[in-house]
C-alpha cells in the first residue's frame, strides 16, 4: 500500500462526475431536515419573513449536498449510484473497505431556493501516504464538491477529508 496506483494519481485534479440533481429543490425535504434538528428559523417556515429577508423561501445552506444524494432505488438503474462517488472509488481502488469522514468545510454562495435544479462536480485534491489510526491502517484523502444553480451561479463548495482503512487484526 506504500505507492499510489497510477489510476488514482490521475484522478487528482480533474473535474469528475459532473451531474445534475435528480430532482428539484423542494420544501418537503427542507421541512424534514428542519424537523430533524428542531430548526425553527422563520426563513424556512414563515412566508412573510422569508419574503422580507430572502426574497422568498430558501433552503437551509447546510442542506447543499442533500439535493445530490441519489435515490436508494430508481427504475432502469443498472448500477447502484453512490453519493460522493470519488470517495467510494478510492475505497475500491485502494482496497480499503471501511471509511469515515474526519473533516468537512463548506463555503456558501447564492442561496438555494425551492424549484432550483442544481449541478455539481467532484474534484479529488489529495491522497496521503499510508497512516495508522485507532480505527486501522489506511489513507486520508481530500475531495471537493462544487455546486451551481441552473443559472450558472455558484451556490457552494464542500471539502471533505475522508479516511479509508482496513481494521487492524
Amino acid at each position: 500500500m506504500s505507492s499510489l496506483p497510477a489510476e488514482v494519481q490521475s484522478w487528482i485534479g480533474p473535474k469528475r462526475y459532473e451531474a445534475e440533481g435528480e430532482f428539484d429543490v423542494e420544501r418537503g425535504y427542507i421541512f424534514t431536515t428542519c424537523s430533524s434538528v428542531e430548526n425553527g428559523n422563520p426563513l424556512f417556515w414563515d412566508e412573510k419573513t422569508a419574503n422580507e429577508i430572502t426574497d422568498g423561501f430558501i433552503a437551509p445552506p447546510s442542506m447543499i449536498s442533500v439535493w445530490f444524494r441519489p435515490h436508494h432505488w430508481a427504475p432502469n438503474r443498472t448500477e447502484g449510484a453512490l453519493p460522493l462517488q470519488v470517495h467510494f472509488d478510492l475505497k475500491e481502488a485502494l482496497g480499503l473497505p471501511e471509511a469515515v469522514m474526519s473533516d468537512n468545510t463548506v463555503t456558501f454562495g447564492e442561496p438555494v431556493r425551492p424549484g432550483d435544479r442544481l449541478k455539481t462536480w467532484q474534484v479529488l485534491r489529495s491522497v496521503s501516504e499510508p497512516k495508522t489510526t485507532k480505527l486501522g491502517t489506511g489513507r486520508f484523502w481530500v475531495i471537493e464538491v462544487v455546486y451551481e444553480n441552473q443559472d450558472g451561479e455558484w451556490v457552494g463548495t464542500e471539502s471533505y477529508t475522508g479516511f479509508g482503512y482496513k481494521r487492524d487484526k
Binding site: 431536515t33 434538528v37 422580507e52 429577508i53 469515515v100 468537512n104 456558501f108 447564492e110
Partner: protein, 163 residues
C-alpha cells in the same frame, strides 16, 4: 419589521461573547431521522448490526450532513434569520450515538467588516458528549452591521465568504 425578529448585529458584539449552550438528548430516532432527512441511506446510520460488526463502533451514529444541520441550527438560533452562513468548518473527532447528550457551545472570536462593507462574526463552536469534545467547528457568519442591514441581499462580488 426587524424589531419583531431576533437579530444579532455586529455593533453589539465583541470577542469573548458566549453563545447560549444547547443540550440535545440523542435517540436512535434522532440518528435515523437525520440520516433520512439528508438522504443518506448508508447502513451505519440506521443498521445497528452493520455499524457494530462492520464499522466496529458501538452503535449507529449521527451522519456528517446532519451534524452540519445541527450546527447551522445552533448558529442561527443565536443570530436570528438575518445571520447568513458564509463558511463552516468542522472536524469530527468522534461519533455521536443514541443515548448521548449533545452539548453545543460557542464563543465569538472576532468581528470584522470586509472590503465590500459586509459584517462578519467569527465563531468557535464545540460539540461535546459527557464533557468530551466530539466535534470542533469554526464558522464565519455574515450578520447585519446595524439594524437595517441585510447580508442576504448581497450577490456576486458583494458576497465574499471565502475570506
Amino acid at each position: 419589521m426587524m424589531s419583531e425578529i431576533k437579530t444579532v448585529t455586529a455593533n453589539r458584539l465583541k470577542a469573548g461573547d458566549a453563545l447560549p449552550e444547547l443540550s440535545v438528548d440523542v435517540s436512535a430516532t434522532t440518528v435515523v431521522l437525520g440520516a433520512l432527512a439528508s438522504r443518506d441511506w448508508r447502513p451505519m446510520h440506521h443498521d445497528y448490526k452493520f455499524a457494530t460488526e462492520r464499522n466496529g463502533v458501538q452503535d449507529i451514529f449521527v451522519n456528517t450532513p446532519n451534524l452540519a444541520a445541527w450546527f447551522e441550527r445552533y448558529i442561527t438560533d443565536w443570530t436570528g434569520p438575518y445571520g447568513r452562513l458564509g463558511r463552516i468548518q468542522f472536524r469530527m473527532k468522534d461519533s455521536v450515538f443514541p443515548e448521548d447528550t449533545m452539548v453545543f457551545q460557542g464563543e465569538v472570536k472576532g468581528v470584522d467588516t470586509d472590503d465590500v462593507g459586509c459584517s462578519w462574526v467569527q465563531l468557535e463552536l464545540s460539540l461535546t458528549v459527557d464533557g468530551k469534545t466530539v466535534n470542533d467547528c469554526s464558522a464565519r457568519v455574515a450578520i447585519p452591521g446595524n439594524e437595517g442591514d441585510n447580508p442576504w441581499k448581497r450577490k456576486g462580488d458583494q458576497w465574499k465568504p471565502q475570506a
